[in-house]
């Protein structure tokens, strides 16, 4: 069908072809055979001389030969009708008409086979065949079967009419707008709602300024929020936006607006409006205090009833009357009374339901309408329960009636909106499928140009069973995704369709229920192909542009809109998928604010003069970044010379611009730097000898711009005479051989007459032959730097000098005299003063020493009375420890008495500096001159510094003397004390020596003679006498022991200690063994736990053990066996705590503090022998070792004696001990 179209169009060509056909039969036969349209040629009699294969098909003939008839035979089996349905007489058929000379294209006839009943429509082109003379020789007719096309067209007509009707019947206002928002379609309701009659609406634009739109919260709604514009922009459904619209007729409407982008080419958006003004009003009313009242009424809208089945008696609660629309108790409650209130349409249904309930004895649940007196209806609902007697028979129903009008209305509204949605769906002229989660087709609506013919039979079948598996999987995945997301999904797919090949489809799938989706499917094959082609050609161009970073644009004068190339979008940082901005929008949004006016002016000027528009300007991308672009566009005019469009290019020149800016920046930076650095510039033209001096150059020398002429002489005149030669020589040398750069420091005369130090540096410029033509240089005023350096140099010198002086003073031998003289000699040499005087005060005796030095010699005057107090008081500098400068002793400056005294000595100026420590003024230094003079601060400083150093030196000397004296005194005292101590010691020794001899001798005599007496008297002695003698003996023996112990004790303090490492266990064993031997017959249980190695004098510690263990043995005498333990109880301050424990008689802890005192005993001598010295010895020995002793015990339960001993060698003896240990 489609292929035939090209042939039909040009009949003259055909005629020429026919001539050829007539000329060559074979060629004609072949040509005819290949044609898909029916072609038949007749002679002038109407006999068919030629016809092709398609002819037979066209006429529904099984064989070709059967067609070979004359025209006249046809009416027998064929009816031919005009398009209007009238039967066409034979002479109106195509062949006769052609033979009559008619040349016709697209004549339509409906054909009807009488024998088979087949009916079809043909479209005919026909023309006569003439010979050279112009006589009609025959006809050629080409027929095409257009039955199917006609059918489809008819169907489309019907559908369009149907949709138009639907469109008009929708309970919603609908407008359809194109991509630009221009309204192209609207239904009556939309006109009504928007209060614009007829065609007026269609001239307007969506979101135009005529409408004032407010949000639900009352604020004006900005255009970007309009549902229509949002749907266009976002290509997504924007549903149920509530808004208030002030129409162009100033009517206020509340609307619920839904907008959806249209999946049509060339169409933009469909917008539906529901007028919710009334709802809103109600809603607002409800929101006021009405709300509570309505709720209260609602609550009251329920009543109760009872119904005795046997008697038919009814009992109604008061509310029921109201609910049934009856005056309260206006009649006897009864079934009949109730039945009368029921809406007539519901009576039959209710009665039937009621009968069934009563028959079955089941629960009662009814809903029905009640007519209101006002004409409205209300819905009521009743629920009731059966009550039974003992036999199980239902005797009574009791229940409740509730007004459910509101709920019912909601249901109705819901159903209506569903129906509306259905209608909407049907109205969308694409394929629509409804599928469940498993991909089963629930419903469909095919496309008008549907190629899915088989779709008609798919309902109830699963997609997987009728589609290729890959496609079925895709759809199932998409269904899942759509249901999961709860949102519309858009996707494209390819599908092979029988007879059409592989086609492209676009599907939009949206959830339509918990387990089903609706898919709207469009055939986009053609669009894809065109797009692809377009893309290909465009891509080539784009690529070129992208490479060049060249965007292109068109400005369409009529609409003031722009069309941008993709690269243009890229330059502007915008999304190429969005429409190009209008000129105004572009100006406002994309152009840098500073360049907006410039661009507009430039462009408008170009438009006005129809000239080329060209501009470099800045743009602002959506991300805020700024780019530089170069626009260039040419005007295109129509034949009348009016502007149609500008076409131009945009080049991104940001990098170039930035480079330029950087260059400018660096230039200005340099300029600023030169200014900031106070650099003066000069530029000397060597040929003309003219010199340019910059303002700063002049300023450095104190001149204004006009005060120095631009010639070489001005410079030369101001250079210091001493520096000029050097400077000129250097310049000549540099010009002769310019290597590196010219640098010189020279003095130049300032306007005020002083000289400034100038640093000058320069370089030369040459002509092409290399000859220097200009010298460019700069000046920097370095006077301050020079001065600072000079000061630094002088300070360094001074420090060096002071250091030398300091060393000299130290080397002066540590005497006051030497120190002072050295300092004064240095001062005289340095300051050229005459003389220098130093006074050293000694406050104690009120005398001073004066040292006077001049260039020739020094004088010392001792024992000078201190200056009178008043004179000192007057010298404030001295008191306040600061340097006093008097430049003329005749002036009233400075202390006057001193001035007077110095004048008398011939001094006219001086510097006075105190020799002051922070505690006292020890003297004063004075350097003087015979003439009045200006004394530089530096000289005063030197005098002050020397005074300071002298003070320190003198103070050191004084301290050294004091220290020496002190040391001597100490030494003498030590000698004296030592001698005294030695004497005492000697006496003590002599004492104890004589004690040891002379006290013992009498005892020995007493004892000896008692013994002799006893022997002499022999048996003659009475018992009593013998006892007396024994007592005398015992007493003398005790006395001897006492003396021995005392001597041992006294010797303890004197003997030298020899500390060494000592293992206690062997010592304990030795002592305990000897104690056992001394006490035969005693049973003693010894327990010695591990003991640490200790450090001490072995002999003394042995004595300690003897005493402690001896005590333990002694006081455990009453025990059998005695238990004695020696052990270590831990550490205390790096000393081992050792103990000796016994199970003896113990002691009263109240007297524990007396234990270690000499002669203190806690037991009587007749209980335990003893002198009371043993523990005192223990304590003294332990104390000498740096340890301590203590005891614990109780009467009758033993005693423990503790003592501590070092476990590390004593610090002083550590080395010795270590040596000892290694030598063992």
């Amino acid at each position: 069908m489609r292929r035939a179209a090209g042939i039909v169009q040009d009949i003259t060509e055909r005629k020429a072809a026919m001539d050829e056909v007539l000329a060559g039969r074979a060629r004609l036969e072949a040509a005819l055979a290949s044609m898909s349209d029916a072609v038949f040629i007749s002679d002038n009699e109407g006999r068919f001389t030629h016809f092709n294969e398609a002819f037979a098909t066209f006429h529904r003939y099984p064989d070709k030969e059967a067609c070979a008839r004359t025209l006249a035979e046809y009416p027998a089996f064929l009816d031919v009708f005009f398009p209007n349905g009238e039967l066409a007489p034979l002479d109106q058929w195509a062949v006769p008409r052609a033979l009559r000379g008619e040349v016709v294209t697209n004549a339509e006839y409906t054909l009807h086979r009488k024998d088979t009943g087949d009916r079809w429509v043909g479209s005919y082109n026909f023309a006569p065949i003439r010979n050279a003379e112009g006589q009609i020789m025959g006809s050629v007719v080409v027929g095409r079967d257009v039955t199917e096309r006609k059918r489809l067209e008819a169907e489309r007509e019907t559908a369009l009419a149907k949709y138009r009707t639907l469109f008009e019947c929708f309970p919603l206002g609908i407008t359809v707008a194109d991509r630009e928002g221009q309204i192209v379609e609207t239904n009556r309701l939309a006109e009504e709602i928007l209060a614009l009659p007829g065609g007026e609406l269609r001239t307007r634009k969506l979101g135009g300024a005529e409408w004032q739109i407010f949000r639900a919260d009352g604020a004006p709604m900005p255009p970007e929020e309009y549902p229509s514009l949002r749907a266009l922009r976002e290509q997504a459904l924007v549903a149920n936006v509530e808004m208030r619209v002030l129409t162009p007729r100033s009517e206020s409407k509340w609307l619920s607006v839904t907008a959806a982008p249209l999946p049509f080419d060339g169409y933009g958006v469909v917008v539906t409006y529901a007028d919710i003004t009334a709802n809103k009003r109600d809603q607002q009313a409800l929101q006021s205090s009405e709300e509570r009242r309505a709720l209260a009424l609602d609550a009251a809208r329920a009543g109760t009833w009872e119904w005795e089945l046997a008697t038919g008696r009814n009992v109604w609660s008061d509310e029921l009357w109201g609910l049934y629309g009856l005056p309260l108790r206006s009649c006897e409650p009864s079934y009949a009374a109730w039945r009368r209130t029921v809406h007539p349409d519901d009576v039959n249904r209710l009665e039937k339901a009621l009968q069934e309930v009563v028959r079955d004895g089941g629960e009662l649940a009814l809903e029905w309408r009640v007519s209101e007196p006002s004409g409205g209806t209300r819905w009521l609902m009743s629920r009731g329960r059966p009550h039974r007697d003992e036999g199980g028979q239902v005797v009574r129903y009791a229940g409740v009636v509730i007004d459910i009008t509101d709920r019912k209305q909601a249901e109705v509204r819901l159903r209506e909106s569903e129906a509306r949605a259905q209608a909407m769906l049907r109205a969308i002229p694409d394929m629509i499928f409804r599928l469940d989660r498993k991909g089963v087709f629930l419903d469909y609506k095919a496309d008008i140009k549907d190629l899915h013919e088989q779709a008609r039979s798919v309902v109830g079948r699963r997609n997987r069973d009728i589609s290729p598996p890959a496609f079925a999987s895709l759809i199932e995945r998409k269904i899942e995704a759509t249901l999961a997301a709860g949102q519309m999904q858009t996707f494209e797919y390819k599908l092979s369709v029988p007879e059409a090949g592989e086609l492209d489809f676009e599907a939009r799938m949206a959830p339509s229920g918990p387990d089903e989706v609706i898919a709207i499917v469009r055939n986009i094959t053609e669009r894809r192909r065109v797009e692809a082609e377009l893309l290909r050609t465009r891509n080539t161009l784009l690529e070129a542009q992208r490479i060049a970073r060249l965007g292109s644009f068109e400005y369409i004068a009529a609409t003031q809109t722009t069309v941008w190339s993709e690269e243009e979008y890229r330059i502007y940082g915008l999304d190429p998928a969005k429409p190009s901005p209008t000129y105004e929008v572009m100006l406002a949004k994309c152009i840098h604010p500073d360049d907006e006016a410039l661009l507009h002016q430039t462009f408008m000027k170009a438009v006005e003069r129809l000239t080329v528009y060209e501009l470099e300007h800045r743009i602002v991308r959506p991300d805020g970044s700024v780019r530089w672009v170069h626009d260039r566009a040419q005007p295109y005019l129509d034949s009348q010379g009016r502007l149609v469009r500008y076409v131009g290019t945009t080049l991104d020149i940001t990098e170039r611009k930035q480079a330029e800016e950087r260059l400018q920046e660096s230039e200005s930076r340099l300029r600023l730097a030169i200014q900031a650095a106070n650099i003066g510039l000069w530029d000397w033209d060597l040929l003309s000898n003219a010199v340019y001096y910059s303002p700063e150059w002049k300023r450095q020398l104190g001149y204004g711009e006009e005060e120095i002429a631009h010639n070489f002489q001005e410079w030369q005149d101001r250079v210091h005479p001493q520096d000029l030669d050097t400077a000129l020589r250097r310049i000549q040398a540099f010009l002769a051989k310019p290597v590196g750069r010219h640098e010189v420091e020279l003095r130049m005369r300032h306007k005020d007459g002083s000289y400034r130090w100038i640093y000058s540096a320069a370089d030369v410029l040459r002509d092409p032959t290399g000859r220097p033509v200009r010298m460019l240089g700069c000046h920097l005023d370095v006077t301050e730097r020079k001065r600072a350096m000079e000061v630094l140099r002088r300070q360094a010198e001074r420090l060096q000098w002071l250091y030398g002086l300091s060393r000299a003073m130290v080397q002066a031998g540590g005497t006051v005299e030497g120190t002072v003289m050295v300092a004064m000699r240095h001062l005289i040499a340095m300051l050229k003063c005459q003389p220098a005087i130093v006074g050293v005060f000694d406050r104690e005796d009120g005398q001073a020493e004066l040292y006077v030095a001049n260039g020739e010699g020094e004088t010392i005057i001792r024992n000078v009375p201190l200056p009178p107090k008043e004179a000192l008081a007057e010298w404030e500098g001295l008191r306040q420890a600061r340097v006093e400068i008097v430049e003329d002793t005749n002036s009233p400056v400075g202390p006057q008495r001193l001035a007077h005294m110095l004048r008398a000595q011939g001094l006219r100026s001086y510097v006075g500096a105190p020799l002051a420590t922070h505690q006292r003024v020890a003297g004063a230094l004075l350097v003087g001159w015979p003439e009045p003079r200006a004394i530089p601060a530096e000289e005063a400083e030197i005098a002050g510094e020397v005074a300071g150093q002298m003070t320190v030196a003198l103070e050191q000397i004084r301290l050294l003397q004091e220290a020496t004296q002190h040391a001597q005194t100490l030494e003498r005292r030590v000698v004296e004390r030592t001698a005294q101590l030695e004497a005492v010691n000697r006496e003590l020794e002599a004492f104890s020596y004589s004690v040891s001899h002379d006290l013992r001798a009498p005892l020995r005599h007493v004892h000896g003679y008692v013994d002799l007496l006893a022997r002499e008297a022999g048996e003659g002695l009475t018992e009593k006498a013998r006892r007396y003698l024994a007592t005398i003996s015992a007493a003398s023996r005790e006395m001897a022991t006492l003396i021995d112990d005392l001597l041992a004790f006294s010797r303890l303090g004197k003997t030298e200690m020899h500390e060494a490492a000592l293992d206690l266990p062997p010592l304990v064993a030795e002592v305990s063994r000897s104690l056992e031997q001394a006490h035969p017959g005693r049973r003693i249980s010894w327990r010695v736990s591990p003991l640490p190695r200790v450090y001490g004098d072995p002999a003394l510690l042995r004595q300690v053990l003897i005493n402690l263990l001896g005590n333990a043995v002694k006081y455990s005498g009453p025990r059998d066996p005695a238990e004695i333990e020696v052990g270590c109880a831990g550490m205390e301050a790096e000393r081992a705590v050792l103990f000796v424990r016994d199970n003896g008689v113990g002691f009263d802890p109240a007297y524990a503090h007396k234990l270690f005192r000499v002669f203190q005993r806690l037991h009587r001598a007749d209980e335990f022998e003893g002198t009371g010295i043993g523990l005192a010895i223990v304590q003294r020995v332990v104390a000498r070792h740096g340890g301590r002793t203590w005891a614990e015990g109780a009467l009758g339960s033993g005693a423990t004696f503790y003592f501590t001993l070092a476990t590390t060698p004593p610090a002083s003896a550590a080395g010795a001990v270590a040596e000892q240990e290694t030598s063992i």
Binding site: H997, R1000, A1001, H1005, G1008, Y1009, V1010, D1011, R1037, L1047
Partner: protein, 143 residues
């Protein structure tokens, strides 16, 4: 039997008596010559003064008290041991107190025995006995 003499140098009569008793107790029948102090002892040894007429023979042993008026025991010992004629005579130093430095000095000077006189008479007897027995009886006097 011609027993050689024992020279007892002792200023205390009591000690002297007790010493003699003790020696007698031990049956030492040597004749005991007594000097009351160091000076007398030296006179005796050098046969001068009151002892100019004494027999030539030197004593078998000298029992020498340390602490005496005039010339003390230490001096006597020094003189005896320094004299080639006398130094062969055994000297027993007897003292009331065991002073270390006395002991050390005595041995330095060449004492033959050093005895601390015990207070107990019995012990004293024992000490004398031992000393006397050793030197007066057992040892042959030097030629």
């Amino acid at each position: 039997m011609n027993l050689r003499r024992i020279l007892l140098v002792e200023d205390s009569d009591r000690d002297a008596e007790l010493t003699v008793e003790a020696l007698a107790e031990y049956q030492l029948l040597n004749r005991i010559e007594r000097a009351r102090d160091g000076a007398e002892a030296l006179d005796y040894l050098y046969r001068q003064g009151a002892f100019a007429q004494r027999p030539e023979e030197n004593p078998a042993v000298i029992l020498l008290d340390l602490k005496m008026p005039k010339v003390d025991g230490m001096e006597v010992l020094r003189r005896v041991k320094a004299d080639p004629q006398l130094k062969a005579i055994p000297v027993v130093m007897m003292t009331s107190s065991r002073e270390e430095r006395d002991l050390a000095r005595s041995y330095d000077l060449g004492v033959n025995a050093y005895v601390v006189k015990p207070v107990e008479f019995k012990e004293f007897i024992d000490a004398i006995r031992q000393v006397g027995a050793f030197w007066a009886l057992v040892n042959e006097p030097p030629p």
